[in-house]
């Protein structure tokens, strides 16, 4: 008897606890995370040592000879040096992540002549840990979505990701090594960004009003083919980090692979060199395809299924950094289909991509429309000229 009542009390207590903890849990979930701890002063947070630096700062200052080589080799030029402020840190390197973040390229550690910077594996680097100021982050204050910090992180998913409950709010994960790249994203106005990109590429883009026609890709009837189709619509993109002109991009899934296709320039012209790049990764584990890809080209025509046009092999390419590049120069404008063929896992793959060289007809459709309308109007006019007198005669006869 007593045991039963004790059990009842236990269960009741657990239920009460659960019921009470639910609102607490919800409130805790919704409460903003504590701001960055104030143990480090502003100065310390803006002066972090380069990757691989000795943990003990005094030891680091003692080991560093102030040669400045790390700053010389730094590709993003993020390494700065302490001023002559009379302290012992003079000429020792630091990184201010608010200004410019480290890309974890490893070069400073490799070049350091002393033991101040030690070559360290990427995920063992310890420069600190990023903090998200949730009051200033757009997604965290429900003012939109961004994801720039996640996309820029050199370590990817293990260092920063999105919150589980809300897929667009960034959170720092355990893998963060504190490189500060996410903190150095430019906080610019949209107008500024636009002007910058236009100023940078304006010259090349002149006369770039040329077209790419979305083609319904008809495919060669090919019995050994496992799967081949183009899915995903062409998009045009601009990679700001390189000096390449805008590119055309198509992404598709075929068989066990996710295939990206890019054409440079986005609007190729006759007698102008261009390039096609193909990159394929396996759907299940993301492993890039490494082998040979054969590129060929044929005319794109609606009648292709019935009378396949002549296929011309452009070349067989091996991968360079898992990317397969095929250059081309077309003499004549027109619609073409570029085919990439490869074999993986004992299965043949064949992917067709549309490629438009030169501008398609602009005046043509306009001419057809105007012509059809004119024909209709003239036709109606001619018919009416015969119909009206007849109707008049009929009504006169009826009147008489």
């Amino acid at each position: 008897m007593q045991r039963r009542s004790a059990l009842q009390r236990l269960i009741r207590g657990a239920a009460l606890l659960a019921a009470a903890s639910l609102p607490y849990g919800v409130a805790r979930l919704m409460a903003p995370e504590a701001r960055a701890q104030t143990r480090n002063s502003e100065h310390v947070r803006n002066h972090i040592r380069p990757p691989g630096a000795l943990k003990d700062d005094a030891a680091f200052v003692a080991a560093c000879i102030g040669c400045g080589l790390c700053g010389e080799v730094c590709p993003p030029r993020c390494i700065r040096f302490h001023d002559r402020d009379g302290g012992g840190k003079v000429n020792t390197p630091y990184i201010n992540p608010v200004d410019k973040g480290c890309t974890l390229c490893n070069k400073c550690m490799a070049v350091c002549p002393t033991e101040a910077l030690i070559e360290t594996p990427l995920n063992e680097i310890d420069m600190g840990i990023a903090q998200i100021d949730r009051a200033a982050c757009y997604p965290w204050v429900d003012r939109g979505i961004c994801g720039a910090c996640v996309s820029v992180c050199p370590l990817g998913e293990r260092a920063i990701g999105f919150e589980m409950w809300n897929q667009y709010r960034p959170v720092i994960k355990d893998g963060c090594v504190g490189c500060g790249l996410c903190g150095s994203l430019p906080r610019t106005q949209p107008a500024d960004l636009d002007r910058r990109s236009l100023a940078g590429h304006g010259g090349q883009a002149q006369g770039m009003k040329h077209l790419f026609f979305i083609v319904l890709v008809t495919l060669l009837p090919c019995q050994f083919v496992v799967a081949h189709h183009v899915l995903g619509r062409p998009t045009y993109s601009l990679n700001e980090d390189s000096n390449t002109p805008p590119s055309l991009q198509v992404e598709t899934q075929i068989g066990a692979y996710f295939v990206s296709y890019m054409a440079f320039p986005a609007f190729p012209k006759p007698n102008e060199a261009g390039r096609v790049s193909v990159y394929a990764t396996k759907l299940d584990d993301g492993a890039p395809f490494a082998g040979e890809i054969t590129f060929s080209v044929r005319d794109d025509s609606w009648l292709d299924a019935w009378s396949p046009s002549r296929k011309e092999v452009l070349g067989v390419q091996r991968s360079q950094d898992y990317t397969y590049r095929q250059g081309f120069i077309f003499k004549e404008e027109g619609d073409y289909i570029v085919t990439a063929e490869f074999e993986a896992g004992g299965e043949p793959y064949l992917i067709d991509f549309p490629l438009r060289i030169g501008e398609p007809l602009s005046v043509g459709p306009l001419g057809i429309a105007v012509g059809v309308i004119a024909a209709i109007l003239i036709g109606v006019n001619l018919v009416q000229r015969k119909r009206l007198p007849r109707a008049e005669k009929r009504s006169r006869r009826a009147g008489a």
Binding site: D142, K209, I214, Y236, S247, V278, P365, L377
Partner: protein, 515 residues
């Protein structure tokens, strides 16, 4: 060196409607359903309620046709600019006025104008204006009718079935072929529609294109049954005594009614193009805009028609398809279907099958529910009558989801339109860089919570109006002595709840956009 890598593509995930809103709407739906089942139905045949609000401004439509003409000129100019930009401008959709103006602004914004202005868009429609000028060869006023063959539309086409076909076709082009991302194809479509409108005006009597064929006009017409304004006679008695019917025939200077309506007897907005001819030709100046309770027409004013019912059900299915096609699982379905049937390219056959399945599914569930309702009601009215009558309930459901869905597009994608206006052809413009894409998606026109609240409000309102319509229309089908029994309409109420629930679910899904 550019790597086109799968990891390099950034996925933008727009959050869906928060769960709290969803639960609130579900609770509201449940309460409404309980009420609707228990509360007795009002006896049918009470007639139009007499609480129409006072007249609203009428200067544009009646007093001065010049303003309307000026608006038309502006629209035609913009339309021609769209064609020019599409044909001669850049192929980058977000930099070309043709795609931005047509799809981002007009096509998403049109549905909102219907709620506030009824079918006013049709009055300034550039397609019809161009056709009118080309065929009738007169800018304004009554034109020589003999420039057209003035044939009657063949009997088989005298319904909105052709418009349903064209609406399905338009959806196919939009979602299946992705015409919204292709300024060039957008311009081709614009040219095609002008040719169709012109040909129809040159061959048929009055404006057959507007009345029977135009998918946009019929959509506007159907939705405008729920609009808060209407163009109607001020004094109904005056119209009852009228013998000239200038509103139908026109007069010496004003064209006749383009869709062959008699304003004096007008009960529903479905075919009214708000052109204002009746307002201008009425000798008594008896026609004006007035406010009305939205939904009153779908509830009781409009007459059930078989073909219009088909149109409303198609609208419901197609609006749901718009949401569905944005889901990630839709892409998977298409891909699997394509592999099964050996489809390739842009998967036209797979998409067509998906579209067809969506139409059939919605129509099938609707027919099933209508049949169940008929089972529960003791009257011996034909099944077709049930189908035609309850279709009005589909209208607010489709309209509410259409607006809620388009709100997302409008608010998230229309930032930066001014830049396209400054450079309509996109001369020298580069594609959006990654940063610009992100900035555009971040720069919403309003707060996210505002959108959520508006979306939730729209869905709730749509459901409430649908329930009112089911009850009102149901009462007209029930025999008089059974009129009090609201529970007999349960299947149709469940249909409304089910569609609202489905639309709600669609809105609550995060939208994935590949940058």
């Amino acid at each position: 060196m550019i790597y086109c890598s799968a990891d390099g593509t950034l996925m933008m995930i727009h959050p869906g409607l928060p769960e709290s809103w969803g639960l609130a709407i579900l609770a509201l739906m449940l309460l409404t359903l309980i009420w609707a089942v228990r509360a007795p139905l009002a006896a049918s045949g009470t007639g139009m309620p007499n609480f129409r609000l006072p007249l609203i401004g009428n200067s544009v439509w009646a007093a001065s046709p010049r303003i309307l003409l000026a608006l038309k000129l502006v629209m035609v100019a913009l339309f021609l600019l769209v064609i020019a930009a599409g044909l001669f401008g850049t192929r980058i959709p977000e930099r070309n006025l043709a795609s931005v103006l047509t799809w981002n602004l007009w096509w998403s914004g049109l549905v909102f104008s219907i709620f506030f202005l009824g079918s006013a868009w049709c009055a300034v429609c550039p397609w019809d204006a161009l056709a009118q000028w080309l065929v009738r060869r007169k800018i304004g006023g009554r034109a020589e009718p003999n420039n057209s063959l003035n044939l009657r539309v063949p009997r088989g086409l005298r319904s909105v079935w052709p418009a349903i076909g064209l609406l399905v076709g338009l959806t196919w082009l939009e979602l299946g072929l992705g015409i919204t991302l292709d300024p060039y194809a957008t311009a081709l479509l614009a040219l095609l529609i002008v040719v169709l409108a012109t040909a129809s005006l040159a061959v048929f009597r009055r404006k057959a294109f507007c009345r029977y064929f135009c998918p946009v006009g019929r959509t506007v017409g159907a939705y405008s049954q729920l609009a808060a304004v209407e163009l109607r006679p001020i004094d109904a008695d005056l119209c009852a005594r009228c013998e000239t019917l200038d509103c139908h025939h026109g007069n010496a200077v004003v064209e006749p009614c383009p869709t062959g309506l008699v304003m004096g007897r007008l009960q529903q907005n479905t075919y009214c193009t708000s052109c204002g001819n009746c307002a201008q030709s009425c000798p008594h100046g008896n026609i004006a805009w007035r406010l009305r309770p939205p939904g009153i027409e779908a509830e009781q004013g409009a007459r059930p028609q078989w073909d219009e019912a088909g149109f409303m059900i198609a609208l419901l299915a197609l609006t749901a398809l718009h949401g569905l096609s944005m889901m990630t699982f839709w892409e998977d379905w298409m891909r699997n279907l394509a592999r099964a049937i050996g489809d390739s390219g842009h998967l036209p056959w797979s998409f067509s099958l998906g579209l067809l399945a969506c139409l059939v599914a919605v129509a099938g569930v609707y027919a099933l529910m209508a049949a169940a309702t008929r089972r529960l009601t003791p009257s011996r009215l034909p099944f077709k009558r049930y189908l035609a009558t309850f279709a009005f309930a589909a209208l607010p459901l489709a309209f509410a989801y259409h607006m809620a869905h388009n709100l997302n597009h409008l608010v998230r994608e229309s930032a930066g339109v001014s830049r396209v206006v400054q450079n309509p052809l996109g001369t020298g413009a580069l594609p959006f860089s990654m940063a610009e894409k992100q900035v555009r998606h971040m720069n919403m026109l309003t707060w996210q919570d505002t959108i959520f609240a508006a979306q939730a409000g729209l869905l709730a309102l749509g459901f409430l109006v649908a329930v009112r319509i089911v009850r009102r229309r149901g009462a007209s089908l029930l025999e008089a002595e059974r009129a009090g029994q609201g529970w007999r309409l349960l299947p149709m109420l469940l249909f409304a709840a089910g569609m609202t629930g489905f639309n709600l679910w669609l809105l609550m899904q995060p939208m994935v956009m590949r940058l």
